[in-house]
Symmetry: C2
Subunit: 744 residues, 2 copies
């Protein structure tokens, strides 16, 4: 088939899918079981209503409920009681985790003028819970070390490694200085880490109105966006090394667990850190001199952005109560009627930074509604065939504590039983967004095809496709958006509770939510409130209902399928794409290195002699790299995947015993991608295909060992990393071949 006729077929297929959804096949189901499944899903939809989402939000977000708070414990108990009432076998599991809260927070500009940062978000009459000051955690970054430092200020943009190259080009050295960085461009924990690597003694993180304030839209309470004294709390632990309790890497923090001394915990920051509002940042930035910041470093404050250092001189002092607090995970099970030893898991955290009506309660209440409906279906005779496990996690905000400690604690049984983990977190008005393991692309696409968008009379798949068409930056992207049969899943990085499941255990995982139309700048502030969320995030909980229908369908299809709805070819093709990417990255890095080395003289000639300029250092040339082991492993994978998929396709009418044998092979498939030694310098991260970036924090790096070797120019490391990925893919192919043999 030519490309053109393939596209035409794909388009025709798309139209078919969206027009004739009611008759369309469902991956993993026989025709008869697909019809039953449809009937169950139709009942699911009828049981989901917005009023309950709103009522539970009113309960759960009524008061601040961070990790270790009294109201957080009450919420866990309330959630557990709900699950119990719906027939779930429910328990609260407790972990004791390190959770520092501030005792001292001082930030002063001491020269060229005096200013003392307010470090407080004002209560607003338009926001009823914003005045609950006695229960609110103040604005701070969790897992900053204690510190009392004074130094000249340097503006370091987003504070990622490339920003320090730019500072160096401008002749600015941060050693012995305090850096001020803006939120954005990476996960926040990267900023103090990179600042410390470059010799800074303190780190301030502020919300620039360009990224998170009036530049984006009207500020709260007039509009949804962050106001001048709004600030963003959040963890700054070095989570790309390991998430969870900093004192118990790799093991659950249960009584008797081996705990590190705090001084040996590698994920605490090396320098003190404090987040501030843009009103507090303005006097500091306005007083900076030195070179004018590069154009794309300039935010939306009404000043000329300079780099410093100084004359702004800053005193930063933070100290914390390094206490251990209990984290309460609610775990609720619904035993499978036919395959109780095959588990499907679903989770969303319940702790917030403050009231958290959006983050995490919007996702939590949708999950509860879905769980209620599934519980009622079970009671009415439509019990799931596989076991479903729901989790309401505690301590996500400080560092994925509840989910990580639980996953570490239950490691062996999870690797034996758990087929898929489906995560959610905040959700709001807009478009479906799914990231996850690429074996799940078709299943996700079929679910998206079968859920209606409440704003436009089309499926959420078709609406997402429309958005991707309108946002496409190239003709190729537009063509993909229009013609690709399947919805493209982005890979999972980090930033929510799927991390331990996918990256540490190798469980096929997904993260599912809606968003893109809610706007807003209440993230991790006291204004992430019921008033804010119901005005802007999802008025009427219209999309909360859609979220529950979407994830409910996913859970039910995974739980009820004859054969797990995985396709290996979508994974194989995705890995082939990543392999092409890293090979291109090496080539591009080589060309870029040659060009930069060649153009150093031109840069010096072109530079304005009245301004500081330091040409970049000559770089070591990029060697030619042997990618053949990766290419061979990918070729084998694509072949094995094709054979496996066609063997499995014929299986939905096979005997239960044969189905079970194949299902059990399939549910351990993703674990073949785990290397027990983990990634370079971070053994906790063991998945060879997906990981959060060492210098992005949340943002994913696919084929991380290989990709980061190139990005970090570690030419000695890349050969072994290619071998690791190739070995993982070969293990995967071997598993596919074995399972295909059983299926035939």
């Amino acid at each position: 088939m030519s490309i053109k006729s393939m596209a035409a077929t794909a388009l025709a297929l798309t139209l078919t899918l969206s027009t004739y959804a009611a008759d369309a096949p469902i991956l993993g189901f026989s025709a008869a079981n697909a019809a039953k499944e449809r009937a169950v899903e139709s009942q699911l939809d009828s049981k989901i209503n917005a009023q309950e989402l709103r009522a539970w939000t009113d309960r759960l977000a009524a008061r601040p409920h961070h990790l270790g708070s009294a109201y957080g414990k009450q919420n866990a108990d309330f959630i557990a009681s709900l699950f119990k009432s719906w027939g779930y076998d429910t328990a609260i599991e407790r972990f004791d985790v390190l959770f520092p809260t501030p005792t001292t927070r001082v930030l002063e500009l001491i020269a060229p003028e005096k200013y003392t940062a307010k470090l407080a978000e004002p209560s607003l009459p338009e926001d009823r819970s914003s005045g609950q000051t006695s229960e609110q955690l103040p604005v701070y970054n969790a897992y900053s070390i204690d510190g009392d430092v004074t130094g000249d200020l340097v503006y370091a943009n987003y504070g990622v490694p490339a920003d320090y190259d730019q500072l160096e080009k401008n002749g600015v050295d941060v050693r012995g200085k305090i850096v001020i960085t803006r939120y954005g461009g990476s996960w926040r924990g990267i900023k103090p880490k990179v600042a410390a690597e470059h010799g800074a003694i303190g780190c301030i993180i502020y919300s620039d109105p360009r990224d998170d304030g009036y530049f984006q839209g009207d500020v709260y309470p007039k509009g949804a966006y962050r106001g001048e004294y709004g600030a963003q709390r959040g963890s700054v632990a070095d989570m790309p090394v390991y998430p969870g309790d900093p004192l118990t890497p790799g093991v659950g923090s249960v009584p008797g667990a081996k705990r590190l001394d705090r001084k040996d915990a590698t994920t605490l920051t090396k320098i003190p850190v404090l987040p501030i509002s843009y009103a507090d940042a303005l006097p500091l930035l306005r007083a900076l001199a030195g070179p004018v910041a590069p154009s794309d470093w300039r935010g939306a404050l009404p000043i000329t952005y300079h780099l410093g250092p100084g004359p702004s001189r800053v005193h930063l002092k933070v100290a914390f109560d390094w206490k251990t607090v209990p984290a309460y995970d609610v775990i609720a099970r619904l035993r499978g009627s036919e395959r109780p030893d095959e588990w499907i898991m679903r989770g969303n955290h319940h702790d917030a930074w403050v009231n958290g009506a959006g983050d995490p309660i919007s996702g939590q209440v949708a999950m509860l509604e879905e769980a209620k409906a599934i519980g009622e279906l079970a009671k009415a005779g439509s019990a799931p065939r596989r076991t479903i496990v729901y989790a309401a996690w505690d301590g996500e905000e400080p560092g994925l504590l509840g989910s990580t400690e639980w996953a570490e604690t239950h490691d062996p049984e999870l690797r034996q039983h758990l087929a898929v983990y489906i995560n959610s977190d905040s959700t709001s008005r807009g478009f479906l967004d799914v990231e996850g393991s690429h074996t799940l692309e078709r299943m996700v696409t079929e679910v998206a095809r079968d859920v209606q968008d409440p704003e436009r009379s089309v499926s959420v798949l078709e609406r997402l496709r429309a958005r991707e068409v309108t946002l496409a930056k190239s003709d190729e992207d537009r063509k993909q958006a229009r013609d690709r049969e399947l919805m493209r899943l982005d890979a999972l990085g980090s930033g929510s509770d799927y991390t331990a499941f996918i990256d540490h255990l190798g469980i096929a995982s997904m993260n599912v939510g809606y968003g893109g139309e809610g706007g807003g700048g209440s993230y991790h502030s006291i204004y992430d409130s019921i008033d804010h969320f119901t005005r802007f995030g999802d008025p009427g909980y219209v999309y909360g209902v859609v979220q529950a229908k979407t994830t409910g369908r996913m859970v039910l299809r995974l739980a009820n399928a004859d054969v797990l709805p995985f396709q290996a070819k979508t994974f194989a093709d995705t890995v082939a794409r990543y392999a092409t990417e890293v090979m291109k990255l090496a080539e591009d890095t080589r060309a870029k290195t040659e060009q930069q080395n060649r153009d150093r003289r031109a840069m010096e000639l072109a530079a304005d002699p009245t301004r500081p300029f330091v040409a970049p250092k000559e770089q070591e040339p990029v060697p030619f790299i042997n990618f053949a082991p990766l290419q061979n492993a990918v070729a084998r994978l694509q072949k094995s995947a094709t054979a496996f998929d066609s063997a499995v396709a014929a299986l939905s009418d096979a005997s239960a015993a044969r189905q079970t044998e194949v299902n059990q092979a399939m549910q351990r498939l993703e674990q073949a991608l785990i290397n027990p030694e983990g990634l370079p310098n971070r053994p906790w991260f063991r998945h060879q295909i997906y990981a959060p970036g060492f210098y992005t924090g949340y943002g994913v790096k696919t084929l991380p060992g290989v990709r980061e070797s190139i990005e970090q120019r570690k030419w000695n490391e890349i050969g072994p990393q290619i071998a690791n990925v190739a070995a993982a893919l070969d293990r995967y192919s071997t598993e596919l071949d074995r399972a295909a043999g059983v299926a035939k």
Copy 2:
């Protein structure tokens, strides 16, 4: 030769040029005459000194000297006296031109709150001439009509046609409204023109600090950039239709000239216009509601940018004294010793909006210094072989009045005698910038090779190349910047006094200046002063000296060459590139139209239903276009050009009579590109290859008839326009063939 070996050769040649400049050939000169020319240029250099540039600036920019002012007349007299003292045959030619100055300027916000715009730039103690308030023209836009309008405000970004498409997409209609646009994105005169086309009743133009203020750098007097009450004067006549006196299109405004009634002058605006500062714009913009402006519309004011309309309601009232004033052009001739009937002309305006130390005095004093040196050389026995004509133009600022009226008046003799017109205007610290007729690319490259950059010990050519390498956006651009033998000339649009020469008469022209390091936001304000210019623009007049050496060399080489230093092949290759561009533009427009028509449904599906959204109208498909006449004409041109260049190359040792015959053919060559009927809807613009854009104002449109037919989707017009360009190129080829015949 393969591409690679060609590039290697070009690179080798470049190195040769810059290393062995002293022995390198000079286009148009025999070896013996090249040696003589080098000696003369060396004397030229020795006569140019910065002290005189500063001294003349102190005289010419001491007081405001706009068109019609007393001090402007004194400056003309002073300049004339200088030329006379250097031995030039000097006259002041007077034209009587329409020049409105304001009698009433009122801008008020009348709802939702009251604000009266200050409309004044404050005097500063750090700027000595800023207090000369009695002689300063107030902030206004010349050739706005009188008007008194009240209406709701709409923010229209830069006010170009695409911005109105965006407004329409957001459901905003400007009919009956007053639009506020920001400076930038087009020449200012486009903004009221397009606003009126869409039904607006008034137009405000403000300087946003994003483009022209603190976002760029520290504001004056701390730094060079525009402060909160700084504002930009300037003409808003519809100059893409015709420049010069609005009452005398196509003819000189001499006594007895036929003058239009003011009501019949098509270049006056259709609606009242007023320019304001960002301090005056802030209250108006802050009070706007309606949709939030698209991301790239948002400036650097500390507000959320909304589109309106309203609730900001504005009263705008302007009235003018529509007087006729004298414009004084200083014209100075140095008769050629051997070829007095072949002229080389050099011009720079002398009128300013206020004191104009940068615009135009920086360029004027460099021209004077060059003219002084050439006058002294002539007295000392090195008279130019051809006649040199210097012009200090009046009335450039309101609308290129002095140069246009003069060129229209002297049309026949100019077309008979004038070979090249070299313009300059403001010049400052930085990099050489030359735009012009592409027959001149090699001559310009050779001059740039032979002038040293004062900041780096290389030629200005090599430094410019270094800058282009560092700014290159693609590998292809970088390769071009590094390897292309010749310096690339950009084509001339409009914006200074070359316009009548190139676009109306078809005289080969150039615009020459330095810049890019001076920074600054004093343009058309009272702060374009000696204090500002000598602190930021060109401290020590280091680049004023380089400018004089550069343009002085150009004048001397053109005046002394055995054969005019033109190369037809550089022009032919450039036109071939333009032809490729317009064909690609048609293809891209077709693809884009198909895509937009196809994606209208996707845009509707993806739109947020809570915000206004109007999908773009279905567009007429783009027909397939017959470009063959253009392609055939280009092919012929390339062949004729190659033959011509090789015939001329052998000519520098030929007899004077044969040289003269070829020279006379060459100096009329560019006139073959003139079509007496002009461009569609603007007959004054007659050049078929270069013109300012009908909707850009200054920005060039090459092959304008063809390119704008496509851009404006006038599918009936494009066939005749292709025929016009092809005919012009054929006339040019015929001239080349004839001249080549003589040369052989």
